[in-house]
């Protein structure tokens, strides 16, 4: 049986985007940081660092690390870390191997981390890395501006 590889090195961003949080927020309170670390136990350090960075500020690299780390985590057992960077066209089901349950887990993890809600139609429409990225950008931007 293959032990899941941790995604220690997250590929550089391949999509240009504006950061989802428009302004830097500064360090998180200790309890908020611990909550994120708690929620991401078992995930790669890079994923946790990305989530913390995303909550604290708005680095594009943080965004990539968090999103990719979560999606990669829920791939099937034995999945290898790809040599090539995932592109926006990388398909979540066909290319990364995420089945419907894994997709729901990944989305639930994102919902919990960022306190957002993703409805069924949005989940069904999320087919590629770019879709996931745009969905999360939109949710975070909406929440930030609210």
């Amino acid at each position: 049986m293959t032990v899941r590889k941790k995604i220690e090195a997250i590929p550089n961003p391949t999509l240009t985007t504006k950061p989802p949080y428009p302004e830097r927020r500064g360090p998180l309170a200790r309890h908020a940081r611990e909550e994120i670390e708690h929620q991401l136990r078992g995930f790669s350090d890079a994923t946790t660092a990305g989530a913390l960075g995303l909550r604290e500020g708005s680095q594009v690299a943080d965004f990539e690390a968090c999103l990719y780390g979560i999606l990669f985590f829920f791939r099937p057992a034995g999945s290898e870390t790809p040599d090539d960077l995932p592109s926006g066209q990388t398909r979540l089901r066909e290319d990364l191997g995420l089945d419907s349950l894994s997709m729901m887990e990944a989305m639930f993890k994102i919902e919990e981390l960022f306190d957002i809600n993703i409805d069924n139609a949005e989940l069904v429409a999320t087919k590629t890395i770019a879709d996931a990225r745009h969905l999360l950008e939109e949710k975070l931007s909406l929440r930030t501006s609210a």
């Binding site: 293959t2 032990v3 078992g42 099937p76 057992a77 887990e105 919990e112």
Partner: protein, 421 residues
């Protein structure tokens, strides 16, 4: 009817993980019980409970768990399991290894799986609390998978690629005994060549503390004497978590594979009390009938049984009813050779997985020629007069062994095992 043999057993129990440790505990009468508070943050009453060494599955997050051989299991399997999942997996891996069954052989369509799990009250509580905290708007996708009674079935069949029969059994403390009984039928009737029987219990605060409401748990805080089946001073059962697995197989399949049969399962029987939702029939009528049915199916005389691994949980009413049933069957008559003991004095009461655990202990004892003594039995209840209740483990060549189980509602099951010919 096909003959049925057992070619593998596996344990993750309070008296040891793996057959070697379990055997030593049975021989030395070494119990696996400790006294502690089992609710989180050191709350609740101090209780004597079974402790499964080497496992820490107290967290509701799988990523915190530690257990023997966990590197063999991927997070994609573990993340939707209940806390008793690791017990079941470790026990099953041992049983498969002992049976020389490779994982690749399990998808032949002739191999099935019967399980007994009560689900996980802990995971139900945890997931529902989290759901409620979101205003009932955001449920963890693993909420159902990690908590319902079928949880072992679908995890194990999917992970091992089992394509034969697949079912879960729920009859309270006789659940896993029913699983074994119906697994026997699958093979005897030629529907399957082999059946994996797996059962496990969390054995935590959420599983055990509700029994305090029925005054069913022992209040004795001494681990050496709290679980004392058939003793005058017994005052309730001692709960335990853990897991067990057995591989049942047609004798012809075992022979063709060159597998070593540890024991033969000759028959089983069941009957109900039809009396009360929780209390046993005072004279153990249902259990008596279950044993009679079992013996009749194998055409075996009651007096020829060498050892009975009694269900006796150390509750006043349950042990009394069982002793009365055994006396009605003639096991207290002068000249009887049948030893009666309850291994729960060592293991504690495994609730739904108790029947399979004790069946596996019967198989081990037949294979090794030992009859465990009644641990902590000092002063037998007068109702047991005439029964042979050994207080030390006896080295004895066993030929016929009975395992009895009783669950709430008077759901009684009996298995008969023999040495392989």
């Amino acid at each position: 009817m096909n003959r049925v043999v057992i070619t593998g057993i596996g344990f993750a129990s309070s008296i040891g993980t793996g057959r070697t440790e379990v055997s030593k505990s049975l021989r030395d009468l070494r119990h696996g019980l400790v006294c502690r508070r089992i609710a989180e943050q050191d709350a609740g009453p101090e209780l004597v409970v079974g402790a499964v060494d080497g496992f820490d599955v107290s967290s509701c997050e799988y990523s915190d768990w530690t257990f023997p051989g966990q590197e063999r299991f991927d997070s994609s399997l573990l993340r939707s399991l209940p806390p008793h999942g690791p017990y079941a997996l470790v026990a099953l891996e041992e049983a498969l290894l002992q049976s020389s069954l490779d994982h690749s052989a399990l998808g032949d369509g002739r191999t099935g799986l019967f399980c007994a799990s009560p689900g996980s009250p802990r995971m139900v509580r945890y997931r529902l609390n989290r759901l409620a905290a979101t205003g009932w708007n955001r449920a963890d996708p693993m909420s159902v998978l990690s908590s319902i009674p079928a949880t072992l079935n679908f995890h194990i069949t999917a992970h091992y690629g089992i394509t034969g029969a697949n079912c879960g059994f729920v009859s309270a403390c006789s659940s896993s005994s029913h699983a074994i009984g119906y697994a026997f039928d699958e093979i005897a009737l030629g529907r399957q060549e082999r059946m994996l029987v797996v059962s496990a219990e969390d054995g935590d605060a959420e599983s055990l503390l509700p029994f305090t409401g029925m005054r069913a748990l022992s209040r004795n805080r001494d681990p050496d004497t709290a679980s004392r089946p058939f003793d005058c001073k017994r005052d309730g059962f001692v709960g335990t978590g853990g897991g067990v697995a057995l591989i049942l197989e047609s004798a012809s399949s075992a022979r063709d594979r060159g597998a070593n049969p540890l024991a033969e399962m000759r028959s089983w029987g069941q009957a109900s009390d039809g009396y009360n939702i929780a209390a046993p029939h005072p004279e153990g009528k249902g259990l008596q009938t279950a044993i009679e049915n079992c013996l009749q199916a194998a055409e075996v005389d009651a007096r020829s049984v060498d050892w009975i691994n009694a269900h006796a949980t150390s509750t006043p009413a349950g042990d009394r009813a069982e002793a009365t049933a055994l006396k009605s069957l003639g096991y207290a008559k002068p000249g009887t050779k049948t030893l009666v003991s309850s291994t729960k004095g060592l293991t504690g009461h495994g609730l739904s997985h108790a029947g399979a655990l004790e069946a596996a202990l019967c198989v081990l004892c037949l294979d090794e020629g030992i009859a465990p003594g009644n641990a902590a039995l000092v002063e037998p209840d007068p109702v047991c007069e005439g029964l042979l209740l050994p207080t030390q483990t006896e080295i004895r060549d066993l030929d016929l062994v009975i395992n009895s189980s009783s669950g709430f509602g008077g759901s009684n099951v009996c298995h008969l095992f023999s040495k392989t010919k």
